[in-house]
């Protein structure tokens, strides 16, 4: 008998590669979600402003890819949660590894998905502009933001990816909690949302902490730190869990 020596990192990387192949099909759902969001963004502009007097009415419809990003965030929430379900965890069983390597490979997959979803959803701003260019009279299109500045595009991608990472970490952690005990899914929202005052305060402080941050490096740091904590909690929680009962 030769005893195979494996370290945690190699096992995690192998599982990550396996999962990447196993779950790429989830991209189809992302594409559908993004396409639908595009239709909404185009048909019902995200914002509208009307002004006028008796003889004139001026309507300014505002467009952005925000809806696509929001839909992509919903997508990543659903996959982060499904990854924690027993049905999906069973896929790890024939593979060499532990709960930690399983979690690490999940995190790797979610980060990859975040990068992919963040990139594609931000690029939808470009697609939306091109569609507008060909379908609308140019004298109706406001040039200022139409001429999307490249640094802004990159900034949007980075921020979208960071948001996806944060939200996937939150969703994954919630999923793991639900696996540990279904009661958490009820208890935690009750604790947080139980009192409306606490809820508003909580949401406001969360909002201020992330959405209110206007300095990119600090924002990135906050997100990375929070995601790390959330993934860490998930890892510790699931490390003691039994599988495939």
């Amino acid at each position: 008998m030769s005893s195979a020596e494996v370290n945690l990192l190699t096992a995690s990387v192998k599982q990550y590669h396996y999962k990447l192949k196993a779950y790429t099909g989830l991209v189809n759902r992302l594409i559908i979600a993004q396409m639908l969001a595009l239709v909404f963004s185009y048909v019902g502009a995200t914002g509208m402003m009307s002004s006028g007097n008796d003889e004139l009415t001026v309507t300014v419809s505002t467009y952005s890819a925000s809806m696509v990003i929001v839909f992509s965030i919903f997508w990543i929430i659903t996959i982060a949660i499904t990854l924690t379900t027993k049905q999906y965890k069973k896929i790890e069983l024939p593979l060499v590894g532990t709960r930690i390597s399983g979690n690490l490979s999940d995190v790797g997959f979610l980060l990859t998905a975040s990068v992919y979803a963040g990139m594609t959803s931000s690029l939808f701003g470009v697609l939306l502009r091109i569609i507008m260019y060909f379908t609308s009279d140019s004298s109706k299109i406001v040039f200022d933001e139409f001429s999307l500045a490249f640094p802004d595009l990159l900034l949007g991608m980075v921020v979208a990816i960071l948001y996806m990472a944060l939200i996937s970490a939150m969703a994954y952690c919630t999923g793991v909690l639900a696996q540990v005990n279904m009661a958490f899914v009820i208890i935690i929202p009750v604790l947080i949302f139980g009192s409306l005052k606490v809820y508003t305060n909580f949401m406001q402080s969360v909002f201020k902490f992330y959405v209110g941050e206007t300095f990119l490096p600090l924002f990135a740091l906050k997100i990375l730190f929070t995601s790390l904590i959330l993934f860490g909690i998930s890892l510790l929680l699931s490390n003691r869990m039994e599988v495939n009962r």
Binding site: A4, A11, K21, I91, L95, G97, R240, N244
Partner: protein, 300 residues
């Protein structure tokens, strides 16, 4: 060296006791059959050995370490059962190539050979397979992975008898070429007993027997004949099984070592001696009540 050492192992699911103070030791490179009735705790025990489940109390060591959530145990063992799931985006041939890198001793020519032999469709997803073909495919993984500890939980579920025979042959041939510790669980012993070296019989989570197949085969003997005469021989001895026939004829199963010296005498008294098949013996040993199903009907 014992690959698996188990001391006073107990496992509860909530308040239900699945494994009850179990102690045994499985030696390296032996094929052991884990036999027990449905619900006797076979799968629970195997999942604890594979590191999926955590023992409630007692000691369990696999490769001299605790198996639960252990990377070393995971790297050196494989657990095959019919609930194994694979993602639908991987075809059967994909699965063979994707699973291979996880196992250091993976023999891909063997895997592909078996895969072709059973004429699987390489483009099919795993979830589309019927119960029997799923078991067949999973058994390929179990054999080709050549894990130092190979755990096969009811590996032949749904297989037809031809495939079963092929599977046992393939397992044995590869075992001879590449010896390893194999545990096969089954509720049907007769089919695998030739393959096995040892048998671990459990009943309601507790150990019943752990001995070699050869010893098991000679463990008990059946005596049939006139009830009075039979009873005179087995008086005061533990009767494993007893069945009444018409006209005062009686069949009893008794431990062979209790009665070995009296064989000649028994034969001369006009009684018949029978070997007891291992399957029957296991049923007698794990029976909760003495007497068979016939008793239920004769009581009324």
């Amino acid at each position: 060296m014992g690959v698996i050492q188990c001391e006073d192992l107990t496992k509860f699911y909530g308040k239900i006791k699945a494994i009850d103070h179990l102690s045994f030791k499985i030696e390296e490179n032996k094929i052991t059959g884990l036999i027990g009735r449905n619900g006797s705790g076979k799968t629970t025990l195997l999942k604890m050995i594979a590191g999926y489940l955590k023992p409630t109390s007692g000691e369990l060591n696999v490769f001299s370490g605790k198996p639960f959530n252990s990377l070393a145990v995971s790297a050196n063992s494989i657990f095959i059962d019919d609930t194994m799931t694979f993602p639908d985006s991987l075809t059967l041939s994909d699965i063979l190539t994707e699973v291979a890198p996880f196992y250091a001793n993976w023999n891909s020519s063997l895997a592909n050979g078996l895969f072709d032999y059973y004429s699987f469709n390489p483009q099919q997803p795993h979830s589309n397979l019927s119960k029997g073909t799923k078991s067949t495919f999973n058994s390929i993984l179990g054999i080709a992975s050549r894990c130092p500890l190979t755990i096969l939980d009811e590996p032949t579920t749904g297989m037809d008898s031809a495939v079963r025979k092929d599977f046992y042959r393939a397992l044995l041939k590869d075992y001879l070429e590449y010896p390893r510790t194999i545990i096969i669980s089954s509720h049907l012993l007769s089919e695998i007993e030739e393959l096995l070296e040892d048998i671990l019989l459990i009943n309601q989570g507790a150990k019943c027997l752990h001995l070699s197949v050869m010893e098991l085969k000679e463990l008990a003997v059946g005596i049939r004949g006139n009830a009075q005469v039979v009873l005179s021989f087995v008086e005061g001895k533990e009767i494993l099984y007893q069945e009444d026939f018409t006209k005062g004829s009686l069949y009893v199963v008794i431990r062979r070592n209790l009665i070995e010296q009296q064989f000649e005498l028994i034969k001369q008294s006009g009684l018949e001696l029978f070997p007891v098949s291992t399957d029957d013996l296991c049923i007698y040993l794990t029976a909760n009540t003495k007497g068979g199903i016939g008793d239920v009907f004769s009581r009324g």
